[in-house]
Symmetry: C2
Subunit: 526 residues, 2 copies
């Protein structure tokens, strides 16, 4: 057993809780050994020495009824639970809890694909279902529906959607394509949202809102309940699609690239989550950093120029897909090509795929609804025990904003000795700007710098009027404190709801900066 213990719980009570859990879900599903718990440590922990965010145990219930019992016992003894779908929230903390000594409630044994409706194009899944699982299931049944994969195909569909992850197809906004949930509240009560409250109804996965207030988005990035089932809309396989790569030559071309992309997104020429990635991120997919630079500090401009030249890529690389009937894909490509051809020096390549054909590269395959793991290649970029932590501000969809966020972040990264390893993913009116700080976990100097840097990047962004959409456990309080309109009214609203729904403060204390009453005010000591 690890030496970590739930805070504010006596040894006797904790042991009793473990015993009662084991009696209900089985000894094998209550993990307490340091060895087993290591799977739930932050895989990319920037501070391997300090070991914050350590679980004391993991419980793995096998059904909704077992979750209810686990919860009941947790309430009885006051043991905080940290629910995860499968714990693959890498770069943001993995399966580790915000509050050290929490028990991870891992839902991966609930892994049924409960329904796929081919006609109405949706699925209903449990938290343990991964993108690989759902994709394989669809393939097996000869479905004409696509999943929209997250960057890492091994991730949970439910988990990624709840964290507001995004993908690559026209259904890339995972939260927007979610429809209907089953949620267990802290008191053990099961709620079905939207039309799911019509028992034996026919529209749970068809119409989001239902009647009266709608709650699905309140259960995202929150600690108000445990999502046990989730509906998602699936994209019908298009007749044809075209994957387009645009290479723009200069660093400052980011501004023009974004200005070109926005009208194409707004007029629906491009319907997918187009990506604009920097040369270094592109290079990490096909090479190691030492191939280009081995000196101290960040890569010099000359090394990036060499990457661009030798790999024959752009300083910025735009990648998007066009879907639809064959003639519509043609018309869309003509419009997109016209627009991007106006950028001086832009080179445009397009590859056409008929229904059923799948591109070779992981990134392009994602745009055809095929999950991959290629995003993990970045871990080998810097060498050593590769890890990364992500700074993820929302960027208004203008060239000026994108260039500003990029320039400020790049300068700050350089100051801390890191390269700009990032890119933008295009929503409709915003860009997700994702900046990975890649470091060697075994190098204390790098890990310290990476950790310190995150707050500085966030402060820089905040000063310009930007906020992050998601963050690591270590910076959740900091991120929440940046959303400070009217002296933090939004967080107070969350706290009021938290106290009403979870008066014992059992569920995920500290998630997204929301602490239950019992922990509030103590957060500096946690």
């Amino acid at each position: 057993m690890t030496t970590v213990r739930p805070p504010n719980v006596s040894e006797t009570h904790y042991l009793r809780a473990l015993h009662e859990w084991a009696s209900i879900i089985g000894e094998a599903n209550v993990l307490t050994s340091a060895d087993r718990l290591s799977d739930y440590a932050d895989p990319f922990a920037p501070h391997p020495m300090a070991k914050p965010f350590a679980a004391c145990a993991v419980v793995l219930p096998g059904s909704v009824d077992e979750i209810r019992e686990v919860l009941r016992i947790a309430r009885t003894y006051g043991v905080p639970l940290w629910p995860v779908s499968t714990g693959r929230n890498f770069a943001y903390g993995g399966g580790a809890p915000r509050l050290t000594g929490s028990v991870v409630l891992d839902l991966k044994r609930l892994n049924r694909i409960l329904e796929v409706d081919e006609t109405l194009a949706y699925a209903l899944v449990e938290p343990g279902v991964t993108y690989f699982d759902l994709h394989a299931h669809l393939q097996r049944r000869g479905s004409k529906l696509w999943v929209d994969p997250a960057a890492a195909g091994w991730g949970s569909v439910v988990g990624n959607t709840l964290e507001r992850g995004f993908g690559y197809t026209a259904y890339g906004d995972h939260a927007a394509n979610q429809c209907g949930m089953e949620v267990m509240l802290a008191n053990g009560e099961i709620v079905r949202t939207g039309m799911g409250a019509i028992e034996i109804g026919r529209a749970w996965q068809l119409y989001k809102a239902g009647f009266g207030p709608s709650y699905d988005t309140m259960f995202m990035q929150s600690n108000f309940g445990i999502v046990t089932k989730l509906g998602l809309w699936l994209m019908p396989e298009p007749e044809a699609y075209l994957i387009v790569h645009v290479k723009v030559p200069r660093e400052a071309d980011l501004e023009a690239a974004v200005e070109t992309l926005r009208p194409l997104r707004l007029d629906e020429t491009i319907r997918n989550h187009a990506v604009i990635e920097g040369a270094i991120r592109y290079a990490a997919g096909v090479s190691a950093r030492t191939d280009w630079y081995d000196g101290p500090g960040p890569m010099p401009a000359s090394a990036v120029d060499e990457i661009v030249r030798r790999l024959d890529i752009g300083w910025w690389n735009v990648r998007f897909a066009l879907y639809g009937a064959s003639d519509i894909v043609d018309a869309r490509f003509a419009a997109a090509r016209r627009a991007f051809a106006r950028l001086p020096g832009a080179r445009i390549d397009a590859q056409r795929y008929a229904r059923g054909a799948v591109p070779a590269g992981g990134g392009d395959a994602n745009m055809a609804g095929v999950p991959a793991m290629s995003a993990f290649r970045m871990l080998d970029w810097r060498g050593g025990a590769g890890a990364h932590v992500d700074f993820s501000p929302i960027c208004p969809f203008t060239g000026r904003d994108a260039l500003r966020q990029y320039s400020v972040a790049k300068a700050r990264l350089a100051e801390y000795g890191f390269d700009y390893y990032g890119g933008f993913t295009a929503g409709e009116r915003h860009l997700h700007h994702i900046v990975a700080t890649i470091f060697d976990r075994d190098d204390p100097r790098q890990t310290d710098a990476a950790a310190d840097l995150q707050r500085v990047l966030m402060s820089d962004a905040r000063a310009e009027g930007y906020g992050v959409y998601r963050t690591h456990l270590a910076t959740m309080d900091f991120a929440a404190s940046q959303y400070d309109f009217n002296d933090g009214a939004l967080l107070r609203l969350s706290e009021t709801i938290k106290d009403a729904l979870d008066p014992d403060g059992i569920l995920a204390p500290g998630k997204s900066g929301i602490w239950p009453r019992v922990w509030r005010g103590k957060r500096d000591r946690i």
Copy 2:
């Protein structure tokens, strides 16, 4: 002064509240005379004799600060408030409150269009702004952005969005195209949702969720707060568009029409909220019921056949728009025509419009982003003091479900002496089925039958697994009780949140069936 009084409030306290309100917002903005209050009675009240849902007074604050003061005084004396944006929620109760004796909080004086961003295609408006206002504002500044109008152009943009109204263009799902709110909670605290919590931020109207749980949809159809500002996305005017009318000859063709429409919606050939309307609804736009039938009971099939023949329309009439670049519109029309041409006897007409051109008819104009009032023509259909009440179930987007809902409703309407006056509006995976019961308010037999009928229609629907998305004040409790999974867990969740956010039970008691603690259990006596 009317004789209606706030329940559970002494005469002295009520008069004090009125006095204090007047001292803050001005005498002219506190209405108590029967004459002035008549504007806030349900305009289509099915029971004009019984007068439930009567306000005792109306207050019209002119600013957010005045709303806060109005609220403070209401809390002090325990006077329930019924917030309305402008009170145009016709067919569902207009500006009338659920709880008799509530004071209507009319926000129509807050009528500023705070921002229109031409580049990022959004607006930020106050509750008093109507679709006509916003459209005129865009026209005046030569904007290339469209509004998506509600059926009646005089309605409030905020009000319609909060009630989850829907329109006619590709932005027809008003709730889905909402982005960012400012909300005053019952304690007077102002919350800005999503990225709005970044003070002086740059993405309030660009990215919906922000960081942590997201609340916008919780403030829709609810009584958890007063929405004082609302962001909405605006559709960029397309290069060209085509409005298509498809007439299908037989009653039973509804099934095939829906089956044809669904794949075109799902593959994005059709992006707007296509409409399928019955012959009678079509006829009401151009004629009176007595032109066709003047006997007792519902119109016989022969009269409907005559409508179809003489007006040269379909038994069902499908209407949709295709937007985009000129060649994309052509390609989409080719696909849609191919699909509908497979329906035996279908006739397809299309009218092409270049950028800036506006169709003549109100319904078609709506599809080009132009608000109209043509929907009100139905009131003259039956003669007398025309009124209607709407039964609005969500229908799964299948021909089988649509035909089933139609058949069951039509039979029940006939039993009560009414025609089937209805149609379907196409979301992505659901249809809004709207069935208007049109009656003469001066005919007690008709008004009684119309009122009784609504519960019967709802019960019929519930037995088949369907629920309504919206309903009249008189059936809010009934509708909420139909969403009964796990013994009403969803409503209990709403009640828990209501009590946490509004412990005094001041805001809109009874809205969507949600009663604050003080009124709970007493609902049968209200």
